[in-house]
């Protein structure tokens, strides 16, 4: 009987590969009168947008927009930031659509709407695609098409290059995938100027170099999660010692790049001094992670570096923003 064969195949394939929630729902609810979709409230859809990541994107894009030479009407500036934020949120939703199988396993992500059973994968996909297209078209029509195209490229880079390709295939996933998170200040800048420049590239470079040590510090104290989910993060594949070497090297590269805005003339000496001191502290904490290899002290050093890295990036961009407001006034 063909139906039986299909059932048997479904059960067999479910043993070979972990089932996505949609497949699981399909096999669990044979009674077609019970539809398992439509369980997401508005707040579940907001959670799909990864609001915390979105807040960082809004902030860095705003800094890029404020630092750019020339002027943009405040209403258009607000629209640009909104479009960039929605585009980033859409990337997050598409990331959760694709990574539902991984999210189900990791403690950090298993409460996300798809693994929690509130939103189906199809719903997340439709939501993500709609918002992606909407944000790109709106940014293109209302602000400028260069910025719109840049946003489209960023979404493509995060969803296809990072999520679908690199994340599951190489331990360097964070390094290259981090570029997607580093583009927002360049898009903010492009919203004003319609182009890219050395200054906006430096803003990109700061976030790009910051991302690997930030995530590797997290991966060191959450490596069990990534191992269980089969994500080839550096500590899982290359080992914790190699990861510690990488963290130190990237921190040493990051510190001088973070001071570059001062040397390139778009930040004051105050920024120069503060960024240099924070860079030294960053390298110091990275060395601490490198030195402490075992037990609770090692874990604490990683947590400390992870938390400091967030503070570090926030202060750098806040200073650049503050200076642009003071100097521009």
């Amino acid at each position: 009987m063909p139906e039986r064969n299909e059932d048997a195949q479904a059960i067999k394939s479910s043993k070979d590969t972990p089932m996505s929630l949609v497949e699981r729902q399909d096999t669990m609810h044979e009674d077609s009168s019970v539809w398992t979709g439509g369980m997401g409230s508005a707040s579940d859809y907001v959670a799909l947008l990864k609001p915390r990541v979105m807040s960082l994107v809004i902030f860095t894009a705003f800094v890029g927009l404020m630092l750019a030479p020339g002027s943009l009407h405040p209403v258009l500036g607000a629209v640009a930031i909104l479009c960039i934020a929605i585009g980033a949120g859409a990337s997050g939703a598409l990331n959760m659509w694709y990574d539902a199988d991984i999210d189900e396993i990791m403690s950090r992500t298993k409460k996300r709407p798809i693994p929690a059973g509130k939103i189906t994968r199809d719903e997340a996909f439709a939501f993500g695609i709609t918002l992606s297209a909407g944000s790109v078209v709106a940014l293109g029509l209302l602000v400028n098409w260069f910025a719109g195209a840049f946003l489209a490229f960023t979404i493509f880079f995060y969803v296809v290059v990072y999520t679908m390709w690199l994340k599951r295939s190489t331990p360097q996933n964070i390094v290259i995938g981090g570029a997607a998170g580093a583009f927002p200040p360049m898009i903010g800048w492009a919203s004003v100027t319609g182009s890219v420049s050395l200054e906006s590239f430096v803003l990109f470079l700061i976030i790009f170099m910051w991302t690997p040590p930030h995530f590797w510090a997290l991966a060191l104290f959450k490596s069990g999660d990534y191992r269980a989910a089969g994500v080839p993060m550096l500590p899982v594949v290359a080992g914790e010692t190699s990861t510690r070497h990488h963290i130190v090297v990237y921190s040493i590269l990051l510190a001088p790049i973070a001071v570059a805005p001062y040397f390139l003339g778009f930040a004051t000496p105050v920024y120069g001094v503060v960024s240099a001191l924070l860079g030294l502290a960053f390298v110091g904490m990275a060395v601490d992670v490198w030195r402490k290899r075992d037990g609770e002290p090692a874990r604490l050093a990683c947590v400390r570096l992870f938390k400091f890295s967030i503070f570090y990036l926030f202060i750098l961009f806040a200073l650049l923003l503050g200076e642009s407001l003071v100097v521009g006034a």
């Binding site: 539809w35 439509g38 369980m39 997401g40 409230s41 508005a42 258009l76 629209v79 909104l82 209302l142």
Partner: protein
């Protein structure tokens, strides 16, 4: 004999969630209307409707 209703039947919980989504969509649409209205004026100026044909 009453014929049994066909198709998907929503549970009360699903109806509640759908209502919350509908309100959110309405709010987003209203915001989009406002944004396009304001941006039109910003980009084209308040005299957009006073141009000779």
């Amino acid at each position: 004999m009453v014929e049994e209703e066909q198709g998907i039947k929503l549970t009360d919980e699903q109806k509640k969630k759908r209502r919350s989504r509908s309100i959110a969509i309405a709010a987003v649409l209203a915001a989009l209307v406002a944004i396009f209205y304001v941006v039109t004026i910003v980009k084209l100026g308040p005299g957009i409707l006073n141009k000779p044909l």
